[in-house]
Amino acid sequence: MNSPDEERWSDVRARLAAVDAAIEHGFSPSPEEEQELLRARARALAAQPEESVAPGELIAITEFVLAGEHYGFLLEHVRSVSVLTELTPVPCVPPFIVGIVNLRGQIRTVIDLRRFFELPAKGITDANMIILLENAGMQLAILADAVRGVHTIASAEMRPSRSAPVGRRADYVRGVTAAGVIVLDAARLLADKRIIVEEQVEV
């Protein structure tokens, strides 16, 4: 055995001893680490939020991801978010209506915004989340790839969309935030006549 191998084996033995020690202590952090963690959290909480400096009205938006693009709805129009389970397809409906779901005992229509906006079918979509929108007694579920959470931004931060209008989407865009989130108008979407299905099928 030459010396590099010997060193390597001794190193291996030392690391094994360290792992043994860590397992014996049950992965609990040491008191110093715990103190440091807590201190860091306190500092984070003690820091003044930067957006508070922005004057004017604050708005909360629920951000989600659909086909690689970030969208947002005003929090006041969002009723809840949940994981999509047991989607039931409905016959004789337009293509953007993907089906109906049971949310806490209530049957709600699920639509696919991509098809509704007549966006080109590109990008990968997971579509395992449902955002339930509500406005003026009207409730509608839309598919989302992922829900990013709730953010509070200044309304002054909103900018009109600079991108070229694609499909019907332009009719529902309220603006684009500094972070590039396209904020959609849920009230208009819910009030839209095109959502209403008046299709009859001869049996």
């Binding site: 909360a60 629920t62 929090l75 006041e76 969002v78 009723r79 809840s80 978010v81 949940s82 994981v83 829900v147 959470g149 709730v150």
Partner: protein, 576 residues
């Protein structure tokens, strides 16, 4: 005197011949006279002898008959009969030999008649004696007729002898005179001939010998190569000398011309034309042919000399190159000699090395044996490693299974966190709906959401760690598997190595033998290189000699070159 030389010589010889004939004629005549005298003398002598014989025979007849008469004996008749037979023949001789004179012939005739008479008497006497006897015969004899007749005969014979003696004397005198005359003729003729012929010879000599003498002198000078001489002889002479003079002069001129031509040729002018006088003009033809052949020879020589000059130049160049090459060779040889010395040292060294290698190979065989044992031990060690590695792989697999259990727990935690977050969002919504009263709740909801987010982050982190563990496990298992395979391979390789080492040991044994042989060979090589070094010294000497020879050859080539140039200059002197 326009006589030809032939005529002159003929005249001279004719004169001598005439004198000779004259003398000869005189001598002939005198000789004839002498012979006639001599004949006369001899005939006279003969005649005298015959006369005496005649007398003797007559005596025989007389005495014979007398004896018979006296005795009557027939024996006395033998000489009588013999003489009687002999007498006519002798008488004829006398008549033929007697002098040719009428007197002599008359006397002879008388003599013959008397002799016949005397014989007749004797015959008659004999017949009488035989018939009548002695007395009758004596009576006859006493008549003296016989004696008288005999006396007469004796007288006549004496007369005839006297006449013949006179004839003899006259003939002798005649012979003496003739001899004296002949002597006079011969002496005088010879003297006269000497004088005359001397004169003629002097004349002929003056006329022919002098020009011939000149010719000989001139010919001598011409033979000596001087063609400028001239003849003083009169060329208008019409005789052979004149002709010869003119021909000689012509010949001289011709030779002079030829010598001039030869001089021109000697001076290098080959353009001259020599016209042969005739087809028989050997020298002219030869000269023309010589000039022609010389011309062609010179032309060929010119080309040959040109070739020679260029060849000499080339030889010079080649020799110079050769000399340079030889020098280079000498240098190379010096280097080679040094190299051979080095090789010698190297071979000695390699001999030592080969010895060393042989020893080393013996040691290597022992090492290979121990190496084989080591390989066997290695194979055993490898097998234990393989077992150890299998154990490690199993442990790691169980670790992997436990990690999977941790992953399930983490999934549960993650689900809980997601639901907590959802709850927090809904709580925030509810708090917002509650207005001012719900603000505190909103903070709590925010906090709950933050915790849920932290929980998710932690679970994500744990998932990442688990993933890392999984990867590490996979790679560890793979490594263990590979280790196992490597060990398997190692075992195989070790086995192969063992076999290789065995083969190596055998090879090394062979190598040891080979190294021993190499050591011996190297020793031989060392000795051989020593010989090569000696040979190289010889070669070096030879090379040095070659260099010297090449230098000489170069000098010779330069001389040839100069010679070629000189020849060229010489040949260019000829006008062709």
């Amino acid at each position: 005197m326009n006589w030809t030389v032939g005529k002159k010589i003929s005249a001279g010889f004719g004169l001598a011949l005439a004198i000779l004939v004259l003398i000869g004629a005189a001598a002939f005549r005198n000789t004839n006279a002498l012979r006639a005298s001599n004949d006369a003398v001899s005939r006279a002598h003969h005649a005298q002898a015959r006369l005496q014989l005649l007398l003797s025979l007559l005596m025989d007849v007389e005495s014979g008959s007398r004896g018979y008469v006296i005795t009557g004996d027939e024996g006395y008749l033998a000489p009588y009969e013999a003489a009687g037979k002999e007498l006519p023949r002798v008488l004829a001789d006398v008549r033929s030999m007697a002098s040719r004179s009428t007197e002599a012939e008359a006397e002879t005739a008388q003599l013959a008649a008397m002799i016949e008479e005397r014989r007749g008497f004797a015959e008659a006497l004999v017949d009488l004696r035989r018939a009548s006897g002695f007395e009758a015969a004596r009576a006859e004899v006493e008549t003296n007729k016989g004696r008288e007749l005999t006396a007469k005969i004796r007288q006549l014979v004496a007369q005839l002898e006297e006449r013949e003696r006179g004839v003899l004397q006259a003939a002798r005198n005649e012979a003496h005179a003739t001899a004296r005359r002949t002597k006079i003729w011969i002496i005088g003729g010879t003297f006269a001939a000497a004088v005359l012929l001397s004169f003629a010879a002097m004349l002929i000599a003056r006329d022919i010998a002098r020009p011939l003498d000149e010719f000989s002198r001139v010919a001598e000078r011409i033979a000596g190569g001087d063609f400028s001489v001239t003849l003083t002889t009169d060329r208008r002479r019409t005789d052979e000398v004149g002709v010869l003079t003119r021909s000689f002069e012509k010949m001289r001129q011709r030779l002079h011309l030829m010598s001039g031509a030869a001089k021109q040729i000697a001076a290098g002018n080959l353009t001259i034309k020599v016209q042969p006088q005739s087809t028989e003009d050997a020298i002219g033809t030869a000269f023309a042919a010589m000039a022609e052949s010389l011309r062609s020879v010179i032309e060929e020589m010119v080309s040959a000399v040109n070739v020679l000059a260029s060849s000499a130049s080339e030889i010079l160049g080649s020799t110079a190159q050769l000399a340079a090459s030889a020098s280079e060779t000498a240098t190379a040889l010096t280097e080679t000699t040094a190299t051979v010395e080095e090789v010698k040292q190297t071979s000695r060294l390699s001999s030592q090395k080969a010895k060393y290698v042989s020893d080393e190979a013996q040691r290597a065989v022992a090492v290979a044996q121990s190496g084989r044992r080591s390989v066997n031990e290695t194979i055993e060690g490898m097998n234990s490693i393989r077992q150890g590695t299998s154990a490690v792989a199993e442990s790691i697999l169980s670790l992997s299974a436990q990690s999977q259990a941790i992953g399930e727990i983490i999934a549960t935690v993650d689900d809980l966190a997601a639901q907590s977050k959802l709850l927090a969002v809904n709580a925030a919504i509810e708090a917002a709906k509650a207005g001012e009263e719900g603000r505190g709740f909103s903070v709590v909801a925010q906090e709950v959401r933050s915790l849920a987010a932290q929980s998710r982050a932690a679970t994500t982190q744990v998932r990442g760690i688990l993933s890392e563990i999984q990867k590490a496990t996979t790679s560890a298992v793979l490594a263990a598997e590979q280790g196992g395979k490597a060990v398997e391979l190692g075992v195989q390789q070790s086995t192969a190595a063992g076999e290789s080492i065995a083969a190596l040991a055998e090879s090394i044994a062979h190598a040891a033998q080979a190294a021993t042989q190499i050591a011996a060979t190297s020793q031989q090589q060392f000795v051989g290189m020593d010989q090569v070094a000696l040979a190289m010294v010889s070669v070096k000497t030879a090379s040095t000699q070659t260099v010297a020879s090449t230098r000489q050859a170069e000098a010779a080539a330069q001389e040839i070159h100069a010679l070629g140039q000189k020849l060229k200059a010489i040949v260019e002197r000829f006008k062709v």
